[in-house]
Structure formats: C-alpha cells, structure tokens
C-alpha cells in the first residue's frame, strides 16, 4: 500500500455505482480497523481489509482488482458483522472478484478462481456438485497434480467420494442460469 498514490481523479464512477446498486456503502467507513483486526486470513493479505475499503471509497479499482486479498478472502463475513457502520465488506469482495473476472484481469492467486471454475463447471454440467469430477478438473487446470494426493486417497478409501454424478432433471433451468439469466438487460 505504501507506493499507492491515492488520487481523486482516478475515481471510477462505474465501480462506485455498482457498489451503490448492491447497497455496499463504502463511504460510511471511518477507518476504525475492526474489519482488519478480526480477519482470520489477514496475515496472508497484501492489502488489509480496511485498505480495501479505503481504496474502494476512492473508486480506485485497479489496485483492488490486482491484489491477492480479494482471492484469499474466504467470505467468512467476520468483517461485515463487526463493522460499526454496517458496510457489507464481504459483498465488496464479491463485487471485486466478479469485476476482475469479467475484465479478464490476471488473478494474483490463479488457483482460487480455477477452483471456483471447476466447482461451477461441475454444477453447470450436472446441476449438483460432483466432487471427483470437480477435483479432477481443478487438478488438471491448476497443474497441482500431486497436492493432497494422500488426502484424496484417504477420502476415497473411506467412501467419502461419490463415484457417479447425479444429474438433475431440471438441467435446462441450470443452463439458463449459467448463460446469463438476469443479465440480459444489463446494458
């Protein structure tokens, strides 16, 4: 954060409007720091939670879309529940991840969105999550082939991984959802 120059001219109005639409009132932040203090993953972040909120109030989207924090946030909602001004900080993280993906920003933590992609791919295909298929998809895309091999095998031997996927009947509903239902009139 030390080298970030905060410039009001860089305000990104569209980004601020998006937050407004989602009732995320970042302007209400008075930097008490409770969000950062309670974050269980804060020590792994490059920008701490309060810095994320502060940059958002300035509409400074770029450093936010490029940071590690947005991908390492686990959406535990501790920050949002402790914010004295009721800022939906976890919702802010959601918006930032979504914009980063839509803009094709190279994620600072590539494995995290690859995991989400594999998980959602499984749902869009079957209507339900199919763990083995999802894990295989993630492993291949992330090239993390050896990580957690022992755990996976252990789970498998314990009968904790379902061998065949369950395909729901209403797959056309799921297809509609994944092909942008609700976003038809965005522009």
């Amino acid at each position: 954060m030390n080298n970030t120059s905060i410039s009001p001219e860089d305000r990104n109005k569209k980004f601020l409007n998006k937050l407004k639409e989602r009732d995320i009132d970042v302007q209400a932040c008075y930097q008490c720091g409770r969000c950062s203090a309670g974050c269980p993953i804060g020590e792994f972040f490059d920008l701490n939670v309060m810095e994320v909120v502060r940059l958002a109030t300035y509409g400074m989207e770029e450093p936010l879309l490029n940071c590690h924090t947005i991908w390492l946030c686990a959406a535990c909602e501790t920050c949002a529940t402790r914010c004295p001004n009721d800022i939906e900080i976890a919702g802010l993280m959601d918006v930032l991840r979504e914009i980063a993906l839509r803009k094709g920003v190279t994620p600072a933590e590539p494995r995290v969105p690859l995991f989400h992609k594999a998980f959602l791919g499984s749902i869009s295909h079957w209507g339900r999550a199919y763990e083995i298929g999802m894990i295989a998809g993630y492993k291949i895309n992330s090239r993390d082939l050896l990580g957690d091999m022992k755990l996976g095998l252990n789970m498998f031997l314990k009968g904790k991984l379902k061998l065949t996927p369950h395909s729901i009947k209403g797959k056309s509903d799921i297809k509609q959802i994944f092909s942008g239902k609700g976003k038809e009139y965005d522009r």
Partner: protein, 285 residues
C-alpha cells in the same frame, strides 16, 4: 411435523453419513422430511464469490421448487443454509428483479442446530437418550455460515451462539469454554491454499485442546472435513475428531457408536467409541 428438506451436495458425498444421521434422527423425533424435488446445488461460496446473479439464482430455484408446500425448510449444511437464506431475502426484498411471478412463498429456512435446540425438541432428545455422553469434554465449533451475516442467517447470537452447547448438554456431555467457536477454518480455500487452511485449522484445534476438549462437535460439513483432514497434514499426535452433533445424538439415543460410523472419520473417534465400549463390542461381534 413435516418439513421440506434440502440435503445439499456435501451430504451426498463427503458428508453422506451426516445426511444419514439427520434422517435417522428425524425418525426418532417423529419429524417427516420431504426432500425438495429435483433440488440443485446452491452454488456454495464459488457462485456468490464470482457471479452475483448465479449466486442467487441457483439457490432460488430450490426455493421455487417448494413454493406451494407451506412447510419450513430444514438444512443441515451451514453453507447451503446461508445461500438459501440469501436467496430468500433477495426474493422478498426484490421479487421483480428475480422474476418471481405471483405471490411470494411463505416458509422459513431453518438450520439444523436452530431446529434441534428448540426447547420442545431438546426435551424429546433428553427423554430418548439411553446412554449419555457423561462428562465428555467437547468443543462446540460453529464456523461461519450458520451465523454470519446475521442479516441473512437471522442468528440472534452470532458472536456467542449457544445452540450446539444446548444440544450437547442434553446428551450429558460437557461443552468447554473456548475462544475459536466462530472462527473461520477457510474451507472454501482448502484446495487452492492448503497452507492457509493448515494454519487456521491448527489454531482452532490448539484452542480447543487448550480448553480441555477431547473432541469437537460441529454442524457444518465443510468444517468437519476440513478440520479433521488438515489436522492430519500437521502431523500432530493428539488430533481431535470432529463429530456432527446429529451423529452424537443418535449414539446417545441408541446407546452405541457403530463400527460403520467410526470408519468414516479421518481422525480416530476412539474417545466416543470408548464411551459405548460394551455395546460397541457386541456390534462388531
């Protein structure tokens, strides 16, 4: 009593035994469960973290599947619960945006522990216990998603919840006072960043042991899998098994902890098995 039931994907896979214990318990309690017809995945963290529309529309479809039923919806998985509640709130706050046609369905989405901790249900459980878990010191672990955000979950005591403690006390076990009851275990990151999961789980397990617990009890399938499995990674010697509250209720009611159930744990559940030693031997014979 009849309830709609949303098992969710974990309860078909890694937490299959959780599903079985919930169904079995409901039989004991005289609660009839009707699975939501053709339910789909709620999208979990991955959907809402990357696409708001998908993150609401996936769980919303499930709600619309039971729109006319009039029954409340019972959800054992904390993540599914939070996502269904989020969709429910959106449906009520902004029906036009979510293409809700006609009247908005009336039901409440209830997380399993909230349901089980109702005074009349607790009373039933207390009456049915045949072999209490007398004095067993357990750390009740809630994690995140059944509690936060209270705007969504409706949890009255999100920083100091009591439901799991009440349930465990009804079984005769002794909930310990400890610090990490509502801390995140980073379940949604566990595959992509196992190093972070190991750190968080290590801290949680250490806190539970510090308070004198010999086991943990949860109501979240992600927490259960993550906290047991990441303890193994850390290579410590006195790992804590993590039980679903429902499996312990069944054990206390039926007076046994069957071999089949012992086998699903990644960490040895001996501490509970020993409580049921005599009957457990008969079971395996």
């Amino acid at each position: 009593m009849k309830l709609s039931y949303y098992p969710g994907c974990s309860l078909e896979g890694t937490a299959l035994d959780y599903d079985q214990s919930v169904r079995e318990l409901c039989v004991h309690l005289g609660v009839e469960l009707a699975d939501i017809p053709d339910w789909n995945c709620c999208g979990a963290s991955s959907a809402h973290m990357t696409d708001h529309e998908v993150g609401i529309r996936l769980p919303l479809r499930n709600l619309l599947q039971v729109a006319g039923s009039g029954h409340d919806i019972l959800v054992p998985c904390a993540a599914c619960f939070q996502r269904l509640r989020a969709a429910d709130k959106e449906m009520r706050d902004n029906p036009g945006h979510w293409d809700i046609v006609g009247s908005i369905p009336e039901f409440e989405i209830v997380h399993i522990s909230t349901f089980l901790a109702r005074p009349e249900i607790l009373e039933k459980i207390r009456d049915k216990v045949s072999q209490p878990l007398s004095g067993l010191p357990v750390a009740c672990y809630y994690g995140c998603l059944s509690l936060r955000h209270p705007h969504i979950t409706g949890a009255p005591n999100w920083e100091m919840p009591v439901n799991l403690e009440r349930i465990i006390e009804a079984l005769g076990a002794k909930p310990v006072n400890w610090s990490h009851r509502t801390e995140c275990c980073s379940g949604s990151l566990t595959m992509a960043r196992p190093d972070i999961a190991r750190k968080l789980v290590g801290d949680i397990a250490a806190a539970a042991k510090r308070a004198g617990a010999t086991a943990m009890v949860t109501d979240c399938p992600m927490c259960q899998a993550n906290v047991e499995s990441r303890q193994l990674d850390l290579g410590g010697e006195d790992d804590l098994p993590v039980f679903f509250a429902t499996e312990l209720i069944i054990a206390a009611i039926e007076g046994k902890y069957p071999k089949k159930q012992q086998k699903v744990h990644l960490v040895s559940p001996d501490v509970v098995t020993q409580h049921f030693d005599s009957t457990a031997t008969e079971d395996s014979a």
